[in-house]
């Protein structure tokens, strides 16, 4: 390919596009949509950004499950606004992905046919109100740890989307933790509800930070492209260290008998994660995989006539305008 090589006119030496690209990344310069990029970079980004987008919109479902049953008006509007934000974040991320030459409809297609993945945590059911607290506190907490470093990732549109996402998400975790505080300070039933939610969401939240470094296939390359700044295990440790004191503060117990402070390392030791469960859910056998996917597919299919109508109307209006002009 002639495109691959360009002349560096100053010293007459050839430098490949790939080398220029690598230099840019090394110098923390951003890559923008029309810039040359290796195919693998493009593909990896489509995969990661779309997975991220899918996670946002599938993530609307478990919480959406409780909007109509929220226990107070204040909680209802906060939850509604939060779930709506997730739609917004999905939208920003799909838009970022579209700059890589793939349409949102194609991405939906991948989601609906099960070809694309989304965060497995959303395949767990939300069975009590306290789950709204646990999700906001733990799941959003883990998500923030994952996302903050992405604000300075190498692909411009992704980094910009993440800056907006992180800014907007700052209330999400507080919203959840506040629910937990209220429950933990409440009646014995409420406290029990909070503890039960923590018990069920703790381990899936740890898994959410990804397989252990030894098992993770993408880490090295992702580090280079700044799709990742820290390894999964480092992120997990960070999450645990920040969350344990928050649980203690409100009198809840982390459901891990092996959890204890390691003075020497300056962080918490924790128990074995059940990776069999993780892979089972990833492979589609979690408690709600089917429901989540079918909810997405239904919304899309039932919306088809609506989308078609809007397009048909727009075309008619355009025709009318043209006729008037003639």
């Amino acid at each position: 390919m002639s495109k691959k090589e360009i002349k560096n006119q100053a010293d007459g030496q050839s430098i490949s596009l790939e080398e220029i690209f690598d230099q840019k990344i090394a110098q923390d310069e951003k890559i923008e949509p029309k810039d040359w990029m290796p195919e693998k970079y493009r593909k990896t980004h489509i995969r990661q950004i779309s997975q991220h987008a899918h996670s946002e919109i599938v993530g609307m479902l478990p919480e959406g499950n409780w909007i109509t049953r929220a226990p107070s008006l204040r909680r209802k509007v906060a939850l509604l606004a939060k779930v709506q934000d997730e739609a917004g974040h999905g939208l920003y991320l799909y838009s970022a992905c579209e700059t890589l030459g793939v349409s949102r409809d194609e991405l939906y297609e991948q989601l609906h046919t099960g070809k694309a993945k989304y965060s497995s945590i959303f395949n767990y059911p939300t069975i009590t109100w306290a789950d709204m607290g646990a999700i906001g506190w733990l799941v959003d907490g883990a998500a923030i740890i994952n996302q903050v470093p992405l604000c300075s990732t190498s692909y411009g549109p992704y980094a910009r989307a993440m800056i907006r996402v992180c800014k907007e998400e700052s209330f999400h975790q507080r919203q959840g933790y506040e629910i937990m505080i209220t429950l933990a300070k409440g009646s014995p039933e409420q406290k029990e509800m909070a503890q039960d939610a923590l018990n069920r969401w703790w381990w899936p939240s740890l898994m959410m930070l990804g397989p252990t470094d030894a098992e993770s296939v993408h880490t090295a390359q992702s580090m280079k492209w700044k799709l990742k700044r820290k390894t999964n295990d480092e992120l997990r440790q960070q999450f645990i260290d920040q969350t344990v004191p928050q649980a203690e503060l409100i009198g809840l117990t982390i459901p891990d008998p092996d959890l204890k402070w390691n003075e020497e390392k300056g962080c918490y030791d924790f128990g074995e994660i059940d990776w069999d469960e993780f892979w089972q859910v990833v492979k589609g056998h979690g408690p709600c995989n089917k429901e989540r996917l079918s909810a997405r597919v239904n919304a899309w299919e039932e919306g088809e006539w609506v989308r078609d109508a809007a397009m048909a109307y727009a075309e008619k209006q355009e025709d009318k305008k043209l006729k008037k002009a003639i």
Binding site: A70, P71, V77, A87, T182
Partner: protein, 251 residues
């Protein structure tokens, strides 16, 4: 005007916002696409925001340490005074938009009058609401046109919704005893006065949307007296679930 009368009058306005807000919030995450999903939720948030302003006022009026949540969640079905229109289910997007449209046109006319209420609180809530509801009306009217004058399928679907929901429009203008008392005290709005304008506006937009106006002369009523459709009980069992199951707790 006695507080109890005023409270009942406010229910007649506020419960519409609560119940329609609740209906719209059922859709969050299930819209025909992301943009529309977000837009519908914005309307739900506006309506629930209005609900809270009204109920906080009611809570103050009723004293007894009541809160907005007692009012929202702990009444019996017969005590909710919303019109039948707003409790109708989200059968499909055509129903969602038609219900919204038929209510928005009324809602805006109502608030435009209510902002002149001699009750300052109500006037202020109305004033703020007008901006929100003007946008709702714009949104739902635009969508009525898109669906009506879109494809054959969409035309038929939205026409079906208009035909079905038309029967609930007359109730919007019914005047209850509380309405009359509120009107006498220059606090309330004379809804009958709004009727002509309402149908004129609605018909104008339906015509533009190439939809036909139903000819029915039979209208349903009862919501304003607390006699609701069978849908209402299910809506309330979701809405009230937590407060009923775990009474007297803080959330």
């Amino acid at each position: 005007m006695k507080n109890e009368n005023k409270i009942q009058y406010i229910y007649g306005i506020a419960d519409n916002a609560l119940i329609l807000g609740q209906r719209l919030s059922e859709l969050c995450g299930h819209g025909p696409n992301l943009e529309t999903d977000i837009a519908l939720t914005n309307m739900a948030l506006d309506l629930l925001g209005q609900t809270r302003s009204y109920y906080q006022y009611v809570a103050e009026l009723s004293g007894e340490g009541k809160t907005e949540d007692d009012i929202a969640f702990l009444r019996t079905e017969r005590q909710y005074k919303n019109v039948l229109l707003v409790e109708q289910p989200n059968k499909h997007f055509g129903y969602v938009i038609t219900r919204q449209f038929l209510f928005d046109i009324f809602h805006l006319l109502l608030l435009e009058k209510l902002q002149n209420s001699e009750d300052e609180r109500l006037a202020a809530i109305a004033k703020k609401g007008i901006k929100e509801v003007s946008y709702h009306q714009r949104f739902s009217s635009d969508w009525i046109k898109r669906l009506g004058d879109g494809t054959k399928e969409s035309h038929q679907k939205v026409q079906e919704a208009v035909d079905d929901l038309w029967t609930f429009t007359d109730e919007l203008f019914h005047s209850t005893e509380e309405d009359q008392i509120a009107l006498d005290h220059k606090i309330g709005v004379d809804t009958i006065e709004l009727k002509e304008k309402y149908y004129q506006k609605v018909k104008e937009i339906l015509e533009e949307a190439t939809l036909s106006i139903p000819e029915t002369k039979w209208f349903q009523k009862g919501g304003k007296q607390g006699i609701h459709s069978e849908h209402m009980g299910y809506l309330l069992s979701d809405l009230q679930y937590m407060q009923r199951t775990y009474p007297n707790m803080k959330w």
